[in-house]
């Protein structure tokens, strides 16, 4: 007898539906699983047999072969347990109807269902393929239910699933959880005293998605400034939020960030992070790294120069393409990674340049350090700004600044202005400084200033483009149609590239 059930696996962020076929033949009792499986799936034999028996069903004492199709797609993890159990039970008994239903859950020996990682991307894929129902462990129900057009059936025991398929036990479909956003996490900008330049740079970074380098002595508040950035970013569109949640689902991190959250993520990996932890990778099928967890949010690298150079080099491709492709011998996967990079560094090796304490580094050390900070990703940093140590009096007597919500309002209208401009097809294709400058409506005086700056500051072509982009964002924040001289001058001041 032969029967099948639908399961699912993931490659990168894309789900791949898997047909689980079970064949029960006469012969000595035997149980084999084939179809490019990993160790966890091989171990499913023991889990599934025990779960079926402890669920009160009879395990067929015959020759059982389970095939996971398509056979050439590598598969891993324990999410196939339930589909295997259903396929085997169906092969042994008629009356179990699993048409239009997919199964993703791990089985415990006592026949209860356990949650697995990656249910959200799987649910998205199954819904897109026209699957009507998805059975998952009840802990996975909330994330799966975020997908439109899919009836998610949460279950706690194998018996309940089988009873339901026999048409004897109705299961209430899960509903997406209520929006549980507690508002922006992290400090509010109003809590930060002084730091006018850094606040301004954060606003520009939030409005234009520009990468930012904060430099300042230890304890000056670089980390606090970086943590305040998410509070300036507008809520994500529901589609974008779902994509972000899918990445968290893959890593099993939805406890940290609720699946229905619309807030942009903030990730701050420590500099001891491994390369694959940062950009993605790991054994077997590649997992998303910190840069993908920061997708559509903020990636904060504190103590930038403590990160190994190879890690920073690996950031170049994602910073350019907003995605990272990890190529393995068995499969190449791509994860989205569109984030605002905020890096923090001490201004010099001793950390006290420009500080009242005084700095003991000589010019050569400073230059070497500067090269080390920004060498690998210098040409990806759009804004560089100092975060000086605050004087004691300012910390207490200083006036309160603007609240994050006020700045976020400006950021939102600047972003609207930008998306209106990007809708114009000519604007989207401009790449060279002169084409960009035309499409940005740069004023003649501003162009002259830019030309002079090329001579004096020795800007590279890429540097010109970055200055122009930042200036356009500054004009967007001001609500200006064209880019004026002041916007160019301000952008020049923040440029990450130092005069040689």
């Amino acid at each position: 007898m032969i029967a099948s059930a639908i399961g699912c696996t993931v490659q990168g962020l894309a789900g791949v539906p898997v047909t689980v076929e079970a064949h029960i033949a006469n012969g000595l009792p035997h149980f084999a699983i084939v179809g490019l499986t990993d160790r966890a799936i091989q171990e499913a034999r023991e889990r599934v047999r025990s779960a079926v028996q402890n669920g009160g069903f009879e395990w067929p004492q015959r020759r059982i072969t389970v095939n996971l199709a398509p056979a050439e797609v590598p598969k891993e993890g324990s999410g196939f347990d339930l589909a295997i159990a259903v396929a085997v039970l169906r092969a042994g008994e008629s009356g179990i109807d699993s048409s239009g239903t997919a199964f993703v859950a791990e089985l415990a020996l006592d026949s209860s269902l356990r949650p697995v990682n990656g249910v959200l991307p799987m649910a998205r894929c199954l819904a897109a393929l026209g699957m009507r129902r998805l059975v998952v462990a009840s802990q996975n129900a909330a994330e799966a239910a975020l997908v439109d057009g899919l009836c998610v059936l949460p279950a706690t025991r194998l018996q309940d699933v089988v009873e339901h398929l026999r048409g004897l036990l109705p299961i209430q479909p899960a509903r997406p959880g209520a929006g549980a956003d507690a508002g922006p996490a992290g400090p509010d900008l109003a809590e930060v005293c002084g730091q006018a330049s850094a606040k301004r740079a954060l606003e520009i970074a939030a409005a234009g998605g520009h990468n930012l380098l904060l430099t300042g002595p230890p304890g000056s508040g670089k980390t606090m400034m970086a943590r305040a950035l998410p509070s300036l970013l507008p809520d994500l569109e529901p589609d974008a939020a779902l994509e972000v949640s899918a990445i968290y689902s893959l890593r099993g991190l939805l406890r940290e960030r609720p699946a229905m959250s619309l807030r942009p993520a903030f990730r701050a990996p420590h500099h001891s992070v491994s390369r694959s932890g940062l950009v993605g990778g790991g054994v077997g099928i590649a997992q998303p790294g910190e840069i993908s967890l920061a997708h559509r949010g903020v990636l904060f690298l504190d103590e930038l120069c403590e990160f190994p150079r190879s890690h920073l080099e690996a950031l170049r491709q994602p910073l350019e393409h907003h995605a990272v492709t990890i190529v393995r011998s068995r499969a190449a996967v791509t994860f989205p990674a569109e984030f605002v990079l905020v890096a923090a560094a001490n201004p010099c090796p001793c950390g006290h340049l420009g500080d009242a304490k005084g700095c003991n580094c000589d010019l050569r050390q400073l230059q070497a350090y500067d090269a080390r900070v920004s060498g690998p990703i210098r040409d990806r940093i759009d804004l560089q700004v100092s975060v000086p140590r605050q004087r004691f009096g300012d910390l207490f007597g200083g006036s309160e600044g603007e609240a994050s919500a006020v700045v976020r309002g400006r950021v939102e209208s600047a972003r609207q202005m930008r998306s209106g401009r990007l809708a114009d097809p000519a604007a989207g294709t401009a790449r060279t400084p002169s084409a960009l400058s035309r499409s940005y409506r740069t004023a003649p005086a501003a162009r002259r200033l830019l030309a002079r700056s090329g001579e004096r500051l020795r800007l590279s072509a890429r540097g010109f483009v970055r200055v122009l982009r930042v200036a356009r964002t500054i004009a967007d924040l001001a609500g200006d149609d064209g880019v004026g001289e002041a916007a160019i001058a301000e952008a020049l001041h923040y440029r990450g590239e130092m005069a040689a």
Partner: protein, 290 residues
């Protein structure tokens, strides 16, 4: 004249007469390029870790002397020395580098291109035999040669323990004119020059202060040239510039002092940078260049 090193001994027509003013003159010199007679020579020396303003002054002074055809003598070190040589070369004037290492040893390494330029149109000399590494002890010895060769020494910047001060002391002992560029009493890089002034050095406030020391300088009527100019800067830009000194500051401090919002300060600093009046430094600090 070939650029290859050659040996010059006392008694040779090339031997600089002024070295005999030293109690212990060098036994011999290794030289690249023609040795220039000493009467119209000025040493411009100072800190390796100069401020942007110091570098700018040194370069301007080098250019000024170069234009007047005065030989600019310095030590090829980083900072003030290099800037002075560069200013002289750019003005098409003669310049002489006195090394503390062998003629075939390039120190500091990043000044290799500069040293080639000097060898091409000026002179490099040392008393150390070829192959000598730049040992610490060589530099005070080198400084006495600089002091002996010139009519006057201008110390642009230097801390209390700067080698430039040793050059000034040698010069004073030999009866050469010593000038020092005064600076803020808060700036460690001006501590040495301010001390020199207290001890009787002539303050250098502009080229006119050099005229007495260097015969022939006045004839050219050279004024400060080539450096950035304040003319043409708008009033709001000057307002910021007035608040800045050679000591680097944070833009936020300027904003606070002038009660200006950060975007405005940033825009004005950007414009000043393009005008060459302000330099932005590693760490986000800004400094005035003159």
């Amino acid at each position: 004249m070939s650029g290859g090193p050659r040996q010059v001994s006392p008694g040779s027509p090339e031997w600089p007469e002024r070295l005999s003013h030293l109690d212990h003159p060098p036994q011999e010199l290794w030289v690249r390029g023609p040795v220039l007679p000493g009467a119209r020579s000025v040493a411009v020396v100072g800190s390796r870790r100069a401020t942007p303003a110091g570098l700018s002054i040194a370069r301007e002074l080098g250019g000024l002397l170069g234009e007047a055809g005065v030989n600019v003598i310095s030590g090829l070190a980083r900072g003030v020395d290099g800037a002075a040589h560069l200013g002289a070369l750019d003005a098409g004037g003669p310049t002489t580098a006195v090394l503390g290492c062998g003629i075939d040893v390039c120190y500091p390494r990043q000044h290799a291109p500069l040293s080639e330029r000097i060898a091409g149109s000026g002179c490099i000399l040392t008393e150390e035999p070829p192959g000598t590494q730049p040992f610490k002890a060589n530099f005070p010895k080198r400084n006495r040669i600089i002091a002996a060769l010139v009519a006057a020494v201008v110390v642009v910047e230097g801390t209390e323990r700067s080698g430039a001060l040793s050059t000034a002391r040698w010069a004073a002992d030999l009866g050469r004119e010593v000038l020092a560029v005064p600076g803020s009493i808060r700036s460690p890089q001006s501590r040495g020059t301010n001390l020199l002034i207290r001890d009787g050095a002539r303050p250098y406030l502009g080229p006119e202060d050099l005229v007495q020391a260097v015969p022939g300088l006045a004839a050219t009527g050279a004024g400060p040239a080539g450096g950035p100019s304040l003319a043409g800067l708008r009033r709001p830009l000057l307002e910021i510039l007035e608040r800045m000194g050679p000591t680097p500051v944070y833009p936020d401090e300027l904003g606070q002092a002038l009660a200006l919002p950060a975007p405005l300060v940033a825009a004005r600093l950007g414009e000043l940078e393009v005008a060459g009046a302000v330099l932005s430094l590693p760490g986000g600090l800004v400094a005035r260049t003159f």
